[in-house]
Assembly symmetry: C3
Homo-oligomer: 347 residues x 3
């Protein structure tokens, strides 16, 4: 039931398939990496991810129903267990051996459901990126999912980049980050962009948090393959005389899961460590964030349409693109290594 | 004016092109087997089927108008007789010989217009399948046409199959037919599925017809190439002492005509031999039938979308699929034979 | 920044890109010959046409803003001058040499903006076809732009042709021109269709202009490559005794600019030399013309859909098609000559 790896996507890795709350006892269909996947929960709540295509007549299983831990096709009643094995066929007592649909390893963590779409034997939950702030009781979150009609790397690139803030978000959250100093770092499985801390006058709304007149702004952006980006923003009052200066943190956790070669399920959580019970602030941050991400989406979808007109049109990279260049290079290496191995294994 | 046969469709056979009532003196455009066809009636009512593409500048003739027995193109006035021959060109007296559009043999029978899209010389009205109950004065009918965005064989398969009733139609007409015994029969030009008769308690609404407490249910499904299916359902009271037991028949006549490789014009007629003047029953049966066929359509269109994602994904067949396996095998043989002959004839 | 010429379009020639009034200080995106183009005006009003795709990350520049004479990308702020050269990159002082987007020669003339999408070195404003009546103070105009989902040559052919008037426009402006005598003339860069003048009874509304009971109708149609058509219609009273017979002229100036291989930006201006200050007549002529062109559009789009079903389906030409046959022949020669040269130059 394993399909050969193909296409341009990295497969031996974890993708966010859904927000935890999206998946229930009613099957949910979702196209991931171009493949139809059905998601549901067992009686005990464990999430299940199966190929959303019955092995009998290729009806989507998501049109069926969950019975106990099993999923029954809505067309002719073929029934599958949580591993994807076919366990019942109406009208006959015997089920042919090895009949079933593909099952995908799935882990629920940090309020997300993570799916492994490559070689199941290699699935290792320890490799799920650290999204702990999405579920840390010391942090308060707002979160959502946004469909974007653009290649997932366009969104990853957007998240890694600071230079677009002054332009795309000029009317909302835009700040001129084009003259700040960036450091880029890269390892085997990460790219990091660190903006040199800057000292600025404290914004009025932060003065209300008890912050002094000057503050230090820090921003770190961590990319983890294949498509996760954690943005950490910290504002700390400059008060050398204080032992415990006021310090406010916002962490935005992003997962850009490919739907197809030209569309993305974009999952985001914005977590903060201050005013944690302020529901009005929740609503405000949700609204501001959605507005900003819609500005990004609007630009990315225009960019995607422009690329589609002439997929071979060249690009150039400049200083500010250090993070995105590293990200693309790292991903290309990982895909090449994976597909090279797969090709070698096929011999 | 004959085009070479191509594609996966059987061509030397009859397809339903329209319900008789759909075609009038106003031209009607219909895509059949991927080809544009225009349908209209001559002054005496005889139906005509022509290529819906003017030989001059490829405008659809269906945008023109019928004058006497002829069809005049709405763009530049080229005029064609009922055989497709061009008979008039505005602005000149001479019409080049052999100029025209393709004409298709067409027969009106059983309230349907049947079209032959292969070699016209082979068109033989005797090969039109027996849909007589659609026009038998001893039977009353309701009927309609339903567009389905799925390959026609998915609908044929659905009609031949009993095992989906309990699932797709669970909320409407569903009965559990998954444990009944089926016999399959096949000849050179038919597939037959016979459900072993079963004896059941008479349903309350049939008791009202004067039926005794027990009845016998019979169901026969006849497939005729390329895409006609006749379903015969008979309910007879079990009354050995009676000479003339109450017996109620419903025959559903189905024609699944390919529009394209992934869409179908589905024509159905439901005929009955009881309560024949009951208009309320007409309305009820129409409503119930449309509801059920829309349930099928919904499933078939989902199935088609799933197939389109990965056209090579495999299927498996089980006991209940005997009829559909035979249907696919018979059609593959007929298409292969036809195309083999066509290829041989081309040498 | 020059791309190799390709596709079926003639490139070394002028196309209408926009009506003059459409282009302002706010960038306008337009797809021309399948290429994304952004149009805007410099501070002094000069129109500019650039590739609508940033060289950085392929965002459309039309989503950016005009600053002085320059266009700034709305994604990361790359800025281009009116030639397409990149002159500023946020976050760095240096701009790499030769960085930029393609700039297209553009000329504003006759209330239209003309673009040259081939070899810029060959752009010669003297080759812009004579559309002077669209901006002649002695003539009054109504004009508009109509998007048509059909290949531009279908519309050119429609404009050159008189034989469709009696059919497509039977309910509006249709006159039976199918029996009139046509003369065709062709040179290296034009095709001309002249209808032999005919003498008819003066129409009532022309009597009101002081015209006598009989008048002479003249019609000349001039095609200029790649896709301009000027239709000149003159009605003159037959009054040999008068030195200055009443004579009314209408000139329709048409430009059919390819958007893609199957869609067209159709620009038209209807100019007249009589009742020049009659606003009610303006409104009437605008309405009548739009109605007639929508009838054409409806037919052309049906024709395009029909062609798309079987692009290889043949056509035939008859006497009345003399103009369109010459037009297609001339265009094929020009394209072949241009692409032959381009191919030779590549060696």
């Amino acid at each position: 039931m394993e399909k050969p790896m193909s296409g341009s996507f990295l497969r031996n890795c974890w993708y966010v398939a859904a927000e935890a709350g999206e998946v229930t006892r009613t099957p949910l269909s979702r196209l991931l990496l171009g493949e139809p996947v059905v998601l549901y929960r067992r009686a005990d709540g464990t999430p299940v991810a199966l190929e959303d295509r019955c092995c009998h007549r290729r009806a989507p299983l998501s049109k069926g129903k969950v019975i106990g831990d099993r999923l029954q096709c809505g067309y002719h009643g073929f029934t599958f267990d949580a591993s994807g094995a076919c366990v019942a066929i109406p009208g006959q007592d015997r089920v042919p051996p090895n009949l079933g649909v593909r099952g995908y390893p799935m882990v629920e963590r940090y309020n997300y459901l993570w799916i492994w779409m490559g070689d199941a034997a290699k699935a290792d939950a320890a490799r799920i990126p650290d999204f702990s702030r999405a579920a840390d009781p010391a942090w308060t979150t707002v979160h959502d999912r946004l469909p974007i009609a653009a290649h997932y790397q366009l969104m990853v690139e957007n998240l890694i980049d600071l230079s677009h803030l002054a332009f795309v978000h000029a009317k909302t959250i835009g700040t001129d980050d084009t003259r700040t100093v960036l450091r880029f770092d890269r390892g085997d499985d990460f790219v990091r962009v660190v903006r040199e801390p800057i000292e600025v006058d404290t914004a009025p709304h932060n003065r209300k948090q008890g912050m002094g007149p000057r503050c230090r702004l820090e921003k770190t952006i961590d990319f983890a393959p294949p498509s996760q980006v954690v943005i950490d923003i910290r504002t700390t009052e400059v008060a050398p005389q204080k032992n415990d200066p006021v310090s406010l943190g916002i962490t935005v956790l992003n997962a850009c899961t490919p739907e197809t070669e030209s569309s993305t399920h974009y999952f985001w959580t914005s977590a903060r460590d201050y005013q944690r019970d302020d529901k009005q602030l929740d609503a405000f941050l949700y609204k501001v964030t959605v507005e900003a991400f819609n500005e990004d989406r609007d630009m990315l979808e225009a960019q995607q349409r422009c690329i589609a007109l002439d997929p071979g049109a060249p690009t150039v990279s400049v200083n500010a693109d250090g993070g995105s260049v590293q990200m693309r290079r790292l991903m290309a290496e990982l895909v090449e290594r994976e597909q090279g191995r797969a090709a070698a294994a096929a011999h």
